[in-house]
Subunit: 468 residues, 4 copies
């Protein structure tokens, strides 16, 4: 047995199924040994009293992406990956987002150009398909899927992104043939637009009306519709950022019927409510995202669905727009109507601690946490077993957690480029104290230590769960 | 007590709730007395051993209407109302159908011009709204509602008729404000169009592929969507011609949740299946309608929903296109692809016997029959108590049924202008032997006896069930 | 046409389906004519501005019955039928209650002896079967069913009444063979006994703990179990006095599956809550019944189930035990533990006004009221069309309602033998101002006018709804 | 790093979450190293091309147990554990079964006396509680739970075993207080007894009527009832050997409501049907077990529930009674009535291959197999992480599977003491070619190689899933 570059020693190692005490021997960035009393490595980290978990995978985040209304996210690949690393995440899967008229190939090339020199941790890409032309569907998409871009997101809302049902069917049909996984933002566009117009006409323009416009019924409707379309084509589909009990119920019903529907939710639906959008002045804009947070009772339903397995994936949907910034939430003034405010909240760094906190509250168990934090996404998106677990042959992407450490979340301590976090002041129990990417410590005690550009691009295999 | 113009004597009188032996005294077309041993009238009909039921109301039929693809129905108001009368129906509610670009006012005027000189029995009109312009929604529709056209149908499919979700919201919003009842043809257009194109491209053009294109999932999807839109606006909605167990389930779920959703089904979903579209040559076209009949197991679900009260209305959806006719099913040739065939089946005359047959089979009881045949529609569409029941003050619209008479349905015996019936050769138990409209016998022993033009237009009140 | 003994003139007559203006002509206690401008009768009552409804049928009440723990109800057949009449009810169906060891025949004879000289209005009897011996099942029950006692109640709880599952199967099997209708008090005995013992042991003996002991889960469990047993035997069953959303859901699920389950609820589940049992001292005993009232949200579910047709019958479950009386609630002292308190609340007189009040609140409509008040019970228990409707040939059992009259319920105004009503001080809209039994005014303006003993026994036909 | 006693080399190692290539280093019966290219051990096994899985845990089997009707199982601890080992199972959890009147302590002592000298592999014990006296509940059960017997089974049926609801509540209450896990055989006794008597009286005594007597409704009823009782007490419960879609639905509904209900099913419900009981002569007795197998469509529902996570445990319910044996199925003659036939089928050895076969058929995936075969049971019953997984520190209980090997099941090749297997002639894909218990090969190539008495007793921790 060769000498180890790194040994993480004496920790309690957890996977999505198991918990055991072991040392982890790392060589060339890969886990090569699990045992007790492993020989000393070039570097030894003592994890006694700590949990050693797979590094997190944030499989839904928007990085260095221009929104469909033309606002650039505050985070680029450097700040985003630093922030991720600070929160125990070792892989991100942001989007290469097509705007209409663009070539998907070009889009992908451009995002690589952004990521390559800056990423601190590894990354893959989902595509966003907003313009499913014949060329896109017939040539670019199949070729990109073959090249390792095996998942893509489509939208049922947003003027510049939404596909109509027929386009959704076309896209799902390609996904089926090529074995790609389709992610869907499911809200009924017409409901939102119609309500928004009524509200705007009535002068009801404050941030809180964003939550009114994005009615729960709009989410339920689109969720049922998308599931119906996927059922018709007989292809798996993932409903992203599910916010409401109504949408959860639709997913659950479909799953019980044997339809292959996957679900994703996000921390904002566990910790925020629509009341957070109803604050003096423009403050509420800090918690505006789509779909919006709902109410207290709904938070419980989201936790329940996490613990019951309705959701397979837990992402941040990090969409960072600074609050007090003419390129952020205030792009259209210091108190613009809600339709003019960039949608999105940050969460790359807080995501895992917010979920981990649920363990101490008895809402989920440690293995569910690992599955939701990393393993399920790795499998779903075709980067398992390289990523997402602690096993022989996997990348040594690890997060060492102090399960007892209580931390009050403060923007000042986070590593993204934002000027606020919606979770400011929230105290959670459990924190990732060391983050390791391919055997290298990238964050430790609140400091991100690794340089830009070390992150590697991950080609994704076709999702084993997307087989027809 | 004045002398009676007509006494129907010794019958067993049934309403939606009651069954009793009584003579019915009629004066000036109105029921003025119920009792036993009423004095002789100008005319006496002995109904001993017979059931005396309210004359039927067929609240969904297409008469002298040009389809959106330009084909005129075979029946005009004369043949249609003769046929209705022959089947125990004394009121029809066909459509005044707007094509895009038309003024609703003009449409209504035109239909009146057709109906006035020809109708043998009474009639009201639903509107069809295919072009909800500002003028239509802002002026014409409210004015027409006030004038007694208090219900209208909208479509989620057909190229020239379909409204998008936003238009549906606009229309529902008007319906709510004005107290009108919205009827919806609920099938997902994009699914049907997408499947149709795939089928046509593959050369799968026979009538049976019509049933494939109009997938059950398409109906379920649109039903859920329309219910969601109505729930959002908080206004009642009626899903017409429901064909599938999946759509039934959506309606049932909504009703259980307290949403005001009404449902209608039709005889073709009780007696036909998709196999009837799969016959040698072009024969299957005779059973093509939208939504299409489903399978045998599904028929049972439709009966169950009738008996359990999921459906309130049972109509024919009479849409008569002759089979062997260049102006009918063969408009585009003797064996055109299914997309070129006019959708619809006749049923005005057979509707009630087909439903009544369910009594002898133990599927529904006599009172459910009366409700579905007449009373519920009268209430739903605002013509109750003038129509739809046997009560003091109501129009003397009666159907005298021989509950034991077995009849084999044959086109040769029917009174419409069709050259086929999809129920040819089917034997049913129970038949309306005399039909009386406002105290006048309009059909007797298989002969329609009344002259054209005696039918009167019925202004509808706002539906008491459409109150918000 | 013969002269009328009575004409009720100018009223708006409502049945379970219809509403029309008509005079009602009565001869020999029977409705013989409906019309307008009927000739004068021996007596004329002007009902202008009033609703004329079928007299109510209270199909679940305990009259002159000794409870299984040996307490006699406060009301005998005189006070009970007076009270019923005062509240617009013209027929009651109390129980001939077998205690173990008794012959059913003897029981029936004894109850007749009580009722014959005292009843002011007509009555039928349900049996209570607590001792299904071979003789009872093999001889007495079939013979009594043939004699017009076609329904019986069984219990899953109460020490001296409960049947085990096997006995229930035996009884249901007889019901199926003989065409009788089985009514079931469905609460899990062991749960109640086990909880009661725990509570009593802990000194938690106040009335409010009665509601704790009779857990909602106990009702749900027994409801599901009884439905299962009936489904196995393939025989209809009626769950009486359903109190909880959980039990409602079980009934609804079964009905949707096509199982013939009927449901009954009572005013106490619409207007009382468990908080009414939690009053200073022993006051809470006034609202103790089994099952107990639940919470506010549950009341809404009961209303919903009424309006959606889950319940067919609405009875009082009148079980009158005086409060401040050594033969009533205080039989075992002035503040006995809840296990020692007679279960039951009065409701014969308030039942219909409490339900009618739901019309003005928009919870049910007038026809649902009539169905629940009278028609459905008449049909279910085999006394239709003699009772339960306003139709030619039916008994002239009528209640003339002033729909606008607001009445505050006070025990002082009621006609039963009680010293309290649980609805004291509640104001309802709508009141029966005249009650007519077989053409005779038995109550008018709050006074019961008819003498004892005029009530007649009604043999019940086999329920048409209990056919297999 | 110390020298290894055993290295399993080059295999693909699977856990309930992960799949990776690694060598497994074993020392003193424990897994001490996972890596690649581990140094040679005392023994090396080459698992190239094979799957290395955790040894199976059969958590429901009856070994050397006298049934309540006095028939001893054919298998003692020697033959049973040999058979288990032959089928890839390394731990069994049979029952220490109390008959009424017995001391639980004595029962446990007796079973240990049987097991200690004979067991080839490790074992724990569930208790069977048939006589919950004050002493049993107050003293013996708590003491035994503390001693490592942390789960017990109770029955709702069988004359000599069944508890009534009140006893179930008492037992659940103790389970809650002590943190034990209650397993329930859920069938309604009265239904079965009532149907059996009717069938026997009618002379319908062949084996196939066993399936009629054990109606699906009986299982659904008891499942709902047991869940209700557990919900009331607020304690987890495990429904064992679930056979029907109806019972599955009840479990699923409860799980969705957040009730902690676990479910177990068995191979007989995946591969047998009630038709297997309907064979000429007495042959059907070979497939008689309780609950009985259902129909073909039901098998699919059981598979679905396995893959959807409704079931956590998959056991054999091995209850071996020889067919042609006066101490087995023919105890009461060569063709006794079904009520006289010992209930049960063997399955210890075939269990895992039958489940594994589902992988190749696409019904479950490999990780679900591992969970159902071993990991979930280990966690549920408190022997994890010692048993149930492949991880550092766990016992080296391994099964090496050839996933491609097709085997036709024949009794002649099995190692139990039976004279038949219900799966005779069935061909499955995938077979455990080597079984290793604590680092020792106990079975290899169809031969069980280890001597009697090496198996060790496992004290169980309180189930982490049974925490209140
Ligand atoms: Zn989105
Ligand atoms: Zn997003
Ligand atoms: Zn239509
Ligand atoms: Zn139509
Ligand atoms: Zn009762
Ligand atoms: Zn009662
Ligand atoms: Zn068992
Ligand atoms: Zn067993």
């Amino acid at each position: 047995m060769t000498a180890f570059d790194l040994v993480v020693r004496n920790g309690r190692v957890a996977t999505a199924a198991d918990l055991f005490e072991a040392d982890i021997g790392v060589k060339d960035g890969v886990i090569v040994a699990l045992g007790r009393g492993l020989p000393k490595g070039t570097r030894d980290i003592d994890a006694a009293g700590r949990l050693v978990l797979p590094g997190g995978i944030d499989s839904h985040c928007h990085v260095e992406q221009t929104s469909s209304s033309g606002i650039m996210t505050a985070d680029d690949f450097y700040s985003a990956t630093r922030s991720a690393a600070g929160g125990g995440t070792t892989t991100i899967i942001p989007f290469a987002a097509q705007h209409r008229g663009m070539s998907l190939r070009t889009v992908v090339r451009d995002y690589h150009a952004c990521a390559t020199p800056k990423a601190v941790i590894d990354y893959a890409f989902h595509l966003i398909v907003s313009d499913p032309t014949e060329t896109v569907l017939g040539q670019e998409l199949p070729a990109l899927i073959a090249d390792g871009y095996t998942s893509f997101k489509i939208y049922t809302t947003y003027d510049m992104l939404k596909l109509n049902d027929r386009q959704v069917l076309d896209v799902l049909s390609i996904a089926r043939r090529e074995g790609a996984l389709t992610m869907v933002h499911a809200e009924n566009h017409d409901i939102i637009a119609w309500l928004s117009d009524k509200l705007m006409d009535a002068g009801l323009t404050q941030p809180k009306f964003h939550a009114v416009a994005h009615a729960r019924t709009a989410e339920r409707e689109a969720t049922h519709r998308v599931i119906s379309l996927a059922e018709l084509v007989d292809v798996p589909v993932l409903i992203v950022h599910v916010s409401s009990a109504e949408a959860i119920e639709q997913i659950r019903i479909a799953q019980n019927r044997g339809i292959r529907v996957f679900g994703e939710t996000c921390p904002q639906y566990l910790y925020l409510t629509e009341d957070d959008l109803d604050k003096p002045g423009f403050e509420g804009a800090k918690c505006m995202c789509s779909p919006p947070p709902r109410d207290k009772a709904n938070q419980q339903k989201v936790w329940d669905a996490l613990s019951q397995g309705v959701f397979q994936v837990f992402s941040s949907d990090h969409a960072p727009y600074r609050y007090d910034d003419p390129e952020g939430k205030m792009k259209h003034g210091s108190n613009p109507p809600f339709k003019k405010v960039a949608n999105g909240v940050p969460g790359l760094e807080a995501r895992l601690p917010l979920l981990f906190h649920g363990i101490s509250e008895g809402r989920i168990d440690l293995h569910q946490f690992v599955g939701l934090a990393a393993t399920n996404a790795a499998k779903l998106y075709g980067i398992y077993p390289r990523k997402g677990t602690i096993a022989i042959g996997s990348d040594a992407d690890l997060a060492i957690w102090d399960p007892e450490k209580e931390v009050t979340i403060r923007q000042a301590d986070l590593h993204d480029a934002m000027d606020y976090t919606p979770y400011e002041g929230l105290t959670v129990k459990g924190w990732p104290v060391i983050t390791i990417s391919r055997g290298e410590v990238v964050a430790e005690d609140g400091k991100v230590t690794e340089e830009r550009g070390r992150g590697q691009f991950l080609r994704c295999d076709r999702s084993p769960l997307a087989r027809s």
